[in-house]
């Protein structure tokens, strides 16, 4: 197990390094005008621009640049933003923004996981009943209707009905409720429908019938066998989902004016902020890779058939 994890860890580092290298090299193909803020570009003449680019080091061989980036990274330095937050260290930007996205993300995922799994269990338990019908209707609406529509509806109608603020204020706890609830909606639908589906799958298996034949009450069969086994295919995704909450939500953060991470990458790309883009790509890809890795470990913990070592399962004859 430990050996496997070390091996996987090394592979993960390599994967992230390759992703970052690829993005880094692609960014070097972009026009150099992206390294200037608008005013600077207009005010500088050609010579001043070249001099500035030289001080940035972006005229050097791309591999030399990557080496510099990597060694700075080893010291915990992600560089400075160029155009989005001119000359601000990226670590500072992240330290300020990540907490907002993280807290809303974690709140959203906690609510969606708790309620979504509960709804999924109820839908499977009372399949074809009113709970199942309503749950399915909810899932269909959330997944089929463009999210902007119901998110705006929540922001306008729900804020009026419940008397909650329409905009996020860091020092007003009541203003956190609507965005957190909005964050939870799609996840809730996701957990409910997949758990229902896997539970219904499990319910038709022979070992469930055998458990019933042994005299295990239905409630116990549902929790001890059906739910227990249906959760397995889902746990793989839990770590990724939790880790990726720090990327924030573009729509929710913008409609509630939350100064989080949502949309930062898109914005950085549009503004040609190369250092910010490569820093974000590094972080996001590291999170995805770590999420997949942790998901595999979790799977191995909940499913005894999965062995994380290469030793074959020994099976003994009758």
């Amino acid at each position: 197990m430990l050996r496997y994890m070390l091996k996987r860890f090394a592979q993960s580092i390599l994967t992230v390094a390759l992703v970052v290298l690829a993005v880094f090299m692609l960014l070097r193909l972009m026009p150099t005008s992206g390294y200037f803020s608008r005013e600077d570009y207009v005010t500088m003449d050609e010579a001043a621009r070249t001099a500035y680019l030289r001080t940035l080091g972006v005229l050097d061989d791309p591999f030399t640049q990557f080496g510099r980036f990597a060694s700075a990274l080893a010291g915990g330095d992600l560089g400075r933003s160029i155009t989005v937050y001119p000359r601000t260290p990226i670590t500072e930007i992240l330290a300020e923004k990540i907490p907002y996205s993280l807290w809303f993300g974690v709140a959203g995922i906690s609510v969606s996981m708790a309620l979504g799994l509960l709804l999924g269990v109820m839908m499977a338990r009372y399949k074809d009943g009113p709970t199942d019908w309503l749950g399915t209707a909810y899932v269909v609406v959330v997944r089929a209707v463009p999210s902007l529509i119901y998110l705006f509806l929540i922001q306008t109608a729900a804020s009026r009905l419940l008397g909650l603020p329409m905009i996020f204020y860091a020092d007003d706890v009541s203003s956190w409720i609507l965005p957190a609830a909005s964050m939870a909606l799609p996840g809730l639908a996701w957990y409910a429908i997949w758990l229902r589906r896997f539970m219904v799958d499990e319910e038709n298996k022979d070992y469930i019938k055998f458990a019933v034949a042994k005299g295990v009450p239905r409630g116990k069969v549902m929790t001890g066998h059906v739910l227990r086994n249906a959760i397995v295919p889902l746990v793989q995704y839990f770590p990724t989902q939790v880790l990726l909450t720090i990327t924030g939500s573009l729509i929710i953060e913008s409609i509630y004016s939350i100064p989080g991470m949502g949309g930062l990458l898109v914005y950085a790309i549009r503004q040609h902020d190369n250092t910010l883009v490569q820093a974000l790509v590094l972080i996001y890809s590291a999170l995805v890779v770590a999420g997949v890795f942790l998901g595999d470990v979790l799977m191995a913990l909940v499913d005894p058939r999965i062995k994380l070592s290469s030793a074959p399962v020994e099976r003994e004859a009758a």
Binding site: K205, D206, Y207, K209, F210, A211, V212, A213, K214, G215, V216, P217, R218, G224, H225, R228, N229, V232, V302, D303, P304, R305, V313, E314, R315, E316, A317, A318
Partner: protein
Amino acid sequence: MMRGKTENAAAARLDESPVAPGGLLLEADGIEIGFTLRGRHLSAVRRASLTLRAGETLAVVGESGSGKSVLAKSFLGMLDRNGRVEAGSILYRGADLARFSAEKDWLRIRGRRIAMVFQDPMTALNPLKTVGAQIAEAAILHRAADKRAARDIALEMLERVGMTEPARRYAQYPHEFSGGMRQRAVIAAAIACGPEILVCDEPTTALDVTIQAQILGLIKNLQRDLGMSVLFITHDLGVVARMADRIAVMYAGQVVEEGLAREIFYDARHPYTWALLASLPQLGLKGEELFAIRGTPPSLFKEIKGDAFAPRNPMALEVDFEFEPPFFQVSPTHRAKTWLLDPRAPRLEEPETVRRLRAKFPQGSIQGGTR
């Protein structure tokens, strides 16, 4: 039929008095089981009757779709959600199981009174739970005071079904077991609560022949040691010959012949039983094509007129197509549902292959039927 709540409560009270070996333990009478499939009604079991005596092995034989499995499942309330017992009674210890509907009632029966072993041991155990936990699970529900006692029972059961190092086996997962060992574990879980009746639904069909023999031997030994009655569902007459004291032959949802094992093997009276016996590959002659029953069983979606086997029976009488035959008693223990036994029927010889059976398997090679 109306089934009131008070009626159920009364029905759930079980008579605890001991039943002497050979005494009537379970009596299913006129059972009709129907399923609703895409809005259509299917009669899987049509007025089938069956008796099970204490300590005996009753084999229910018939081809796929004859209703043997469905009938047995109704004894544990294990019919699929779209199926139900529509008529008849299943008397067991003074209670009518056919009237059970609440889960509470069935929990008094399942596992602790009537247990079931499934066909495919590869799928009958939860892959994510240890074998031991799955055996102890049943014990803790009905028999054991606490988890430790349940564990002790599970260990004892593992040993009973012939596993060495039960403590190690207890902690293993099903995927670490071979098919034969899994079936032993399934049997251990089924008998963990000391049931009176063990329903075995084709327990060896999914196993290879050598393992099959071991499992059959195990079931026989357990039955003897624990004094259980075994209801053995199979389509394999070789297995029947080895296991059964009595045999019930089912066709198209009905029991068509019932008798002691030797009566069915050596003195069968129903043309369907003849055809089944004639299909034994062991009876084939070199150079001659093996016997097979022509045609297919009737659709159970439709009302069946007359004898259900008549269309496939080359010896069918005219009356078979018009009227359903009643049971005719051949001996006190042997009865068959065929017009051939009517005094007015023409005297028909049983087919040549069935006579060959007697020559090939002399009395005594049928292991059951000793009772």
